[in-house]
Symmetry: C2
Subunit: 105 residues, 2 copies
Amino acid sequence: MDAIFKALADPTRRKLLDRLFRKQGQTLTELIDGLDMRRQSATKHLAVLEEAQLVTCQWHGREKLHYLNPVPIAEINRRWLDKFSGDRAAAILNLRDALQENDNE
Amino acid sequence: MDAIFKALADPTRRKLLDRLFRKQGQTLTELIDGLDMRRQSATKHLAVLEEAQLVTCQWHGREKLHYLNPVPIAEINRRWLDKFSGDRAAAILNLRDALQENDNE
DNA sequence: TTGACATGCAGCTAAATTGCTGCATAATGA
DNA sequence: TCATTATGCAGCAATTTAGCTGCATGTCAA
């Protein structure tokens, strides 16, 4: 549990998750393409995400393919959102979207 | 956004959220009752949670009452869970619950 | 008014974290 | 075989963070 939140605490790791969310099964070099960061840094970040089981990996020859695992994310909701407050929060977010106030990050 | 994840990264802050989830509207001294921590530390933690808007406060005389705000939590799901993977993850978690494997934290 | 209580604010130290450089390993393809 | 490519591992400097102590502020109640 602690590993999940620690992993999500860093903006670079969240950006890597965003990239995996858009396209699964990317290699390390593919993931950092266009990012202002050395390969070795990303390796450390991906190791953190992997340990938290937010990212699952699969070797193909010398290539390591990365996949986003949705389960840990789903666990977060269940901890602090009961059905009623969860529905209310979702409604608020839908309203916010409708008002175009989607200024993320 | 960054503030939310940074706030959730610390186990002490998550414990404070757990306590607020169980009982809303607690004061500072009520919140730290039974915890092995000085009052001043908890003040800093609550300030972090407050800045991330995970906790909302309300003054009543000299007492500061704390409330859990579910909206930022709901935002996390929307970022990395599309409808299909979210449903699948929820199903996995329900299955896990049914198998009694709820060893949190 | 005055003592007790709830809380805030400043500053210190120890520990953790980030991103880097440098080098090693292993697989692919000409 | 051998150069190239994909990745891992070790270690370093700078920054951030957690929890503490000490003191200040403001409210309540006798």
